[in-house]
Symmetry: C2
Subunit: 205 residues, 2 copies
DNA sequence: GTGCGATGTATCGGGCCGATACATCGGCCT
DNA sequence: AGGCCGATGTATCGGCCCGATACATCGCAC
């Protein structure tokens, strides 16, 4: 899942690991706390082995002047390859069960600006369905099995149910906006008003 | 983390794996979808190796009458041991960073009826602190880095921020209730009114 | 001049997940 | 009668991800 996120960030600009982690945290902070280095570095190596990113040891400006007295490691800058861009396009367009999961949905959503509208709608609706199922499960427990459970467990379920209901409402709103060709901030992108855009192109560089 | 949950459920009554999973789902449904068998069975084996649970192959009533023509496997019933009960008491009382994490907090909370009030308060306050930090991080991003992010990413952050604020309010309420000696349903446990109880004993069996 | 927090790369053990395999049971359709 | 199917039930495997840990440099404040 982080493959998609890393590819997406490196598409904007090359970065080294530490920077990548900070950007990831900023972009996905609403979904998960922070990606661990124990996930980040192995993922980078995987992406590299697949040929989707390349590693370029950072050469300091006017390089050989300082001849590495302490043989310092230096930062490792990663950049996306042409194959990596294809892979990103493939991943961003592909919807499956994991795109509706908490983390998977969040990662996809974070790159919605680079996703075509049909895919956005598919993911939004899949997520809604998933959350609705969860909500129904919680209602069942609160209705049928309430007397079997203690007050704390019930309170937990109520809180979870409330969160589900809120998320469904949020998703409904987003879906309605998508259908009427609005972005989340309420603006209509492009020059012509109405549902004319099909995709928002990525910013240059 | 599931060690705690499994030990807690088996303390109520012996169960086989499938049943355990269903109960786990009912009890923790508000936190996570469902524990996978790929987690459940290895965990059960770990608990067994540590001597905290024992395995008893279910002998059907009037056992040897059907002499196992197809050598059927039969359900495996797990029950908690005395050491397991000690371990549960140890785990339930111990608070650390993982008790404030999403899953860890949820598991602890689900067994608050078996947790003494001091620990309940420690966990609730630790969780609140954690969610507040997350909330501040999101506010920072929405304030300082807003212009760097696209409309969808911002919308995601807003939704996350809203969820944080709600959870903090929820926790505040729970903490206030604990301090004034109320359970989540608003009742005052025990015979005497006021903050007299220190712990809710587990039900028999 | 030294300690300390931020920056920076990296590994290791272990927990957890999804996919998969296999087997039984009861009920329903034909 | 026979067959299909969904619920019940136990179990493994590869792989992702995490927390803990280690190590090194940089700039700055004391």
């Amino acid at each position: 899942m982080f493959e998609l996120a890393i590819l997406g960030l490196l598409q904007e600009s090359p970065m080294h690991g530490y920077e990548l982690r900070k950007e990831l945290t900023a972009k996905l902070g609403a979904i998960r706390a922070a990606i661990s280095y124990g996930s980040l570095y192995p993922t980078l190596r995987r992406l590299q082995a697949a040929g989707w990113i390349t590693e370029a040891a950072e050469t300091p400006a006017t390089a050989e002047e300082i001849p590495a007295l302490t043989s310092r490691r230096g930062r490792v800058v990663y950049k996306i390859t042409a194959e990596g861009k294809e892979r990103f396009a493939e991943l961003i367009a592909q919807t499956g069960p994991e795109s509706y999961e908490d983390t998977g949905f969040g990662v996809h959503f974070a790159f919605f600006a680079r996703t075509d509208r049909a895919t956005r709608l598919r993911i939004l609706e899949g997520r809604r369905r998933k959350v609705e199922e969860r909500r129904e499960g919680l209602r069942d427990v609160l209705g049928r099995a309430a007397e079997r459970l203690d007050a704390y467990t019930l309170e937990l379920q109520r809180h979870g149910l409330d969160a589900c209901e809120r998320e469904v409402r949020w998703l409904e709103e987003l879906i309605a906006n998508e259908r009427s060709g609005r972005t989340p901030d309420g603006s209509t992108p492009g020059t012509a008003p109405g549902p004319s855009e099909e995709n928002i192109p990525p910013p240059p560089g």
